[in-house]
Symmetry: C2
Subunit: 219 residues, 2 copies
DNA sequence: CAAATAAATTAGGCTAATCTAATTTACAAA
DNA sequence: TTTGTAAATTAGATTAGCCTAATTTATTTG
């Protein structure tokens, strides 16, 4: 089994590859993990020996297939536990991230699969992120950033790219909820402020920063 | 927060105090933790500095009040997770111990209390062991060992002192389940074999070793 | 293309938790 | 009360994961 620390490295590399391209830099990984670069170099050498990453000295690295599978497994557990915490225990969607970071390291495939079944094989976590199935298949979403859509169009709000408590509770406050149909009434030329019409609800005016963190499936 | 390792030491000391009297020996603790005695001595010095144990060099040790509270908290989490695994996820009572050993180290009082509520504030885990409440109160049971009861008497089977998979699945096989009313029909003089009548069910003949691992509340 | 700068690595050390081997302490028995 | 033995502790080393300071490698720019 992999250590807690190793698993966190794997997950962080996976996420950096997803967002910042295929090859990851030592300093980038050090920064997201909150450690100093020499620690990353040390750890990468060990993980490279275990065939978890492909590492070229001084030239960046990426996950090997084995590492990718571990990453998917951790993400699956993380998101299933988030669903459990919100749907069953009544946590809010902005409270569950740190808890799921602990729970994702519980090592039991049987537990994971029973939890999945108990939750009704959910397809997405409370933030709309897709949950890999037991075979590691991760459904590809057609969602795009709200900031990429023209005024006049509409779509369904299906996910966020910012998972911070502050952002999520801001959305609660202005009344934007997962699943809402959003109609883009106007985009202000000057500062890219979005005026949105929420299906059956009031209007909301949000900044470009916000529009850039909302994922929408166009209708 | 305490480390995983520290928590395991605390829990083990608590259990040894419960079963083997108030003061624990280095070698006894080493043995249950699967480490060598010098490791225990080292760790005890650290835990003593943190006021978790009361330690007298070469003369044994016991939990300090602070350590006792930590132990109760871990036991509470362990037993609540066992209830969750059996009642909600459908695990058998002989499968849950090792998983609960991992889950008991999740550090969140809020999670623990929400889980407790979700499970309906259970008083005992799937093996009949009492669950401390949120204030650390642990209900004192009136259960006694079946082996201490005279032939002719009867009682309700409420717990086990052996939590091994082999023992628990043996009980399943012979059809002895938690909550059963057991009537002691006969105790064989020669080898202390017990002949039991299970309420509404068939008879069972069990060895003294088994009778010594069953907890009963006399009726 | 050489120099300056930024990023990565090496070198050497620290702490937590473990180990083996050697020594000391506690206690029981003669 | 001395002695023998079992238990406990000290001494010294190891591994995982981290650190700072020094050095090397890669990249950008004049």
């Amino acid at each position: 089994m992999h250590s807690f620390t190793e698993e966190n490295y794997i997950k962080a590399i996976y996420k950096l590859q997803e967002s910042n391209g295929d090859v990851v830099a030592t300093s980038a990984l050090a920064s997201v993990l909150g450690v100093h670069p020499p620690s990353v170099t040390d750890m990468l050498k060990k993980m490279s020996r275990k065939k978890l990453v492909i590492y070229h000295k001084s030239k960046g690295f990426k996950l090997a297939e084995k590492g990718r599978q571990v990453a998917i497994g951790i993400i699956r557990k993380h998101r299933l536990w988030e669903v459990f915490l919100v749907d069953k225990l009544g946590f809010r969607w902005d409270e569950v991230h740190d808890l799921a970071e602990e729970l994702e390291h519980i090592h039991s495939e049987l537990l994971t699969n029973k939890l999945d079944a108990y939750l009704g094989y959910p397809k997405a976590d409370p933030h709309g992120d897709p949950i890999p199935d037991a075979n590691g298949e991760l459904p590809k979403s057609k969602a795009v950033l709200l900031s990429s859509i023209q005024a006049g169009n509409l779509g369904k709000f299906t996910g966020v790219t910012d998972h911070s408590t502050s952002f999520l509770s801001y959305l609660d406050k202005v009344g934007i909820s997962l699943g809402d149909t959003i109609h883009i009434k106007h985009v202000e030329e000057y500062d890219k402020t979005y005026t949105l019409q929420l299906k059956g609800k009031k209007e909301a005016v949000v900044s470009h920063k916000v529009a850039n963190s909302l994922l929408i499936i166009e209708e």
